[in-house]
């Protein structure tokens, strides 16, 4: 009994201490959140070091060094030094940032960046984007990828740099010699297998019939990012709502989304069981170089890896660049059947992303960081970036000047055939159920289990995916 009272007092004291500490930390955090937009005063901090997190390709190809050198020379009078943050390109700002171990400026995809401002989290700063030189030259769709609405007020938390869209990569030298007479029905000078999924499918069947080790189109069909395009093209969607971020409405199965599942089943039939997992994604670089695959689908930022593999395989770089072609994805049949062209074709909607710059809330030099972002997104630097890294610029003027595929991709974003990844944390719960279903579909087709043959079975399977995603978001998220 004697010990009870002191023990009780000690317990209360400990609890009070914890509450006070937590409360103080909470107030500090709230303060940080509220002062976000007030950090930009137009007065550039002097004699500071900015840690810049860029992607690996930019570092590997020497672009980052060029960018840093140019910026440091431009801002030498302020004593600002921008350096490579030298961290993993996927570094989570949320983990080390609050403790001072994150970068000041980071370059990541829109879904990665926007998760830092989802809910109560405020790890990146809302930016006064109107002040940036690039503001007028970037389309609304691209800015929207970085928009967050707090208390009915819109904030932009990132600056779009690069539009990521899946593209078809193919080997021009592996086209049949007679493609102009046999594989160009519309006589437009473009091989049909590059223009239409139905013909690519048919050409893949032809290759498979001729050789046991060669393939036409090859892709890991379980990759949700790429496979989602088939569902999106037939009316499916990720999240509902005007802003496409209503996580209570998951809609891959909505409208005729199930037709995408049908396409995946058919495509699997011209591949092998490796399409049910990641193997093809990893081996496509060397297999394409060896000529074992005719085509694959991936994003333009890995173009140099294909070239590198072709050079390793004994081709000259010139030959490799001439024969490895990146182009827009083919058109899908309206019927949703790769063997039925009777109803015509439609553009394929693909899942895409906008990579861009954001500024950490924990930076000690927000104005210098903003100056860096302004510099890095200038016309000159974006053009240089596109030239060195093969990215597709979000800046309309750069895309227009570079022409070709860059202009197409920019137009695709405006036209809506690029479905920008929803900038919500819940997106993380989408991939696993989707991947599993796509892998099951491919396996079903290749092993002859034939569980998902009828439209009803495909629809039901996709509805299950929606339900699983919903459950994952609202129970785990």
């Amino acid at each position: 009994m004697k010990k009870t009272l002191p023990a009780l007092i000690a317990h209360i004291a400990v609890i009070l201490a914890v509450i006070i500490v937590m409360g103080t930390l909470g107030l500090i955090a709230a303060g940080v959140a509220s002062e976000g937009s007030e950090k930009f005063t137009d007065e550039i901090e002097r004699n500071v070091t900015l840690r810049i997190l860029e992607n690996d390709t930019a570092k590997e190809q020497g672009y980052l060094k060029e960018l840093l050198d140019a910026f440091n020379a431009e801002y030498a009078e302020y004593g600002i030094k921008a350096v490579d943050a030298n961290m993993d390109q996927f570094t989570d700002l949320e983990t080390g940032g609050p403790y001072g171990y994150g970068p000041d400026v980071l370059y990541q995809a829109n879904d990665a960046i926007m998760k830092y401002v989802d809910g109560t989290r405020k790890h990146i700063l809302p930016l006064p984007v109107e002040q940036l030189d690039c503001y007028e030259h970037i389309g609304k769709n691209a800015w929207d990828a970085y928009k967050v609405t707090i208390e009915n007020q819109d904030f932009i938390c990132g600056v779009p740099v690069n539009i990521q869209q899946p593209l078809l990569f193919y080997r021009k030298d592996l086209l049949p010699a007679n493609w102009e007479t046999e594989w160009d029905d519309d006589k437009n000078g473009v091989p049909d297998m590059i223009e239409y999924w139905t013909d690519l499918y048919r050409y893949s069947q032809t290759i498979r019939a001729q050789s046991a080790s060669n393939y036409g189109y090859m892709k890991s069909l379980n990759d949700g990012y790429f496979a989602s395009g088939y569902f999106l093209s037939y009316g499916g969607y990720v999240f509902g709502g005007e802003e496409r971020n209503d996580t209570s409405d998951v809609g891959f199965s909505k409208n005729d989304g199930y037709l995408g599942a049908k396409i995946i089943r058919q495509l699997a039939s011209v591949m092998n069981l490796e399409c049910t997992e990641d193997t093809i994604t990893k081996n496509s670089y060397s297999r394409m170089a060896q000529g074992a695959y005719f085509a694959t689908m991936t994003t333009p930022d890995v173009y140099t890896m294909f070239i590198k593999e072709m050079v390793n395989a004994g081709f000259t770089e010139e030959y490799a660049r001439e024969n490895l072609i990146m182009t827009d994805v083919p058109k899908l049949p309206v019927s949703g059947d790769l063997e039925d062209e009777s109803q015509g074709f439609k553009d394929m909607t693909v899942m895409g992303g906008i990579n861009g710059y954001a500024i950490s809330s924990y930076t000690k030099a927000p104005n210098a960081a903003l100056a860096f972002v302004n510099f890095a997104t200038s016309y000159k630097m974006i053009n240089r970036r596109a030239e060195l890294l093969g990215i597709s610029p979000a800046r309309g003027d750069s895309a227009e000047a570079l022409g070709g595929l860059n202009a197409n991709i920019n137009n695709n974003l405006t036209a809506g055939t690029i479905y920008v990844m929803p900038s919500v944390r819940a997106l993380g719960q989408v991939w696993t159920p989707l991947q599993t279903y796509c892998a099951i579909l491919a396996d079903d087709s290749l092993t002859g289990k034939n569980v998902y043959v009828t439209d009803e079975a495909l629809k039901k399977g996709l509805e299950n995916v929606d339900n699983q995603i919903y459950a994952a978001i609202h129970t785990l998220g």
């Binding site: 030298n86 961290m87 993993d88 080390g96 403790y99 081996n283 060397s286 593999e309 395989a313």
Partner: protein, 285 residues
């Protein structure tokens, strides 16, 4: 007479058969375990650098290109730096961890003090929990001490955790007769002199065993360095190899093979001491 001969012959046949079957099983098991290592070694010498150009299981052409790349192409993946980082962390942890473990074990073996039993039991129970269980707590603590992204942060953790496994060493010290300590004390030796001049020389095998185990853990650990090291140039080999791009398989294989070399050399040099040490601590005489 004949029956006896038949019996002997039968016994011989049985023995030969036994040996034959045992060897067959051992060879199969050894092959199962050795094959991945062999494959990795051969893959590291692949000239093309890609596992997808192999003819069946093995590379078509061999060369040292992967090893050359490993040490010369350091813009993205600075393997030599990672190797030195790992060596520094493992060596320092080995020195500090060995000192702390040996001191703890000696203390628990030779001295009787209040709460000794309770401490022994507590450390025994705590040692049963996997080290990664407290990673979040460790991370938060390290942030408070400003030891994130610093090799000394890792060394501190490895060294501090090492004494948790002091039981084997204590078992060894228990086998050294206490009468030696008493004789030394009668001659005027202090506790420290007894430890340094009498016990330690006798505990050489155990010192080697402790040092080796204290070295191998940080040498191959992944979880802690992955959590605490942010800067790429501070990575250890395990973390660095995991950060390689997906087409860098040959470099990964070469890096994995090379990292094993120092530890293999150490084992071959010290294995006789190590076996002595392990056996010595196992039985209380």
């Amino acid at each position: 007479m004949n029956q006896a001969k038949v019996k002997v012959a039968k016994a011989k046949t049985k023995k030969v058969l036994n040996v034959l079957i045992t060897y067959c099983i051992l060879i199969v098991v050894a092959f199962i375990f050795f094959f991945p290592c062999l494959w990795l070694i051969l893959a590291s010498f692949s000239k093309s650098g890609s596992i997808y150009s192999f003819d069946g299981f093995f590379p078509v052409e061999y060369g040292f290109d992967s090893f050359k790349t490993l040490f010369t192409d350091t813009v993205m993946y600075n393997y030599p730096q990672w190797f030195l980082n790992t060596l520094f962390i493992a060596s320092m942890s080995c020195i500090l961890g060995t000192i702390l473990t040996i001191l703890t074990a000696y203390c628990m073996s030779r001295f009787r003090f209040k709460s000794r039993k309770a401490m022994m039991k507590t450390t025994l129970v705590l040692g049963m929990f996997p080290s990664f269980m407290g990673t979040i707590a460790v991370y938060l603590i390290m942030t408070q001490f400003n030891l994130i992204n610093q090799h000394w942060g890792l060394i501190l953790i490895y060294s501090a955790q090492a004494p948790m496994g002091y039981m084997v060493q204590k078992g060894f010290f228990d086998t050294i007769p206490y009468s030696i300590d008493e004789a030394a004390r009668i001659d005027g030796a202090s506790n420290f002199t007894v430890f340094v001049k009498f016990t330690l020389p006798m505990a050489k095998p155990m010192l080697v065993y402790t040092a080796l185990t204290a070295f191998t853990w940080p040498w191959s650990d992944f979880i802690l360095p992955k959590m605490l090291l942010v800067d790429r140039d501070l990575y250890t080999v395990a973390v660095g190899l995991m950060s390689l791009g997906e087409t860098e398989f040959a470099r990964f294989a070469a890096g994995s093979i090379f990292i094993a070399i120092p530890i293999i050399v150490l084992y071959f040099c010290l294995v006789k001491y190590m076996i002595n040490g392990m056996a010595a601590g196992a039985v209380k005489e």
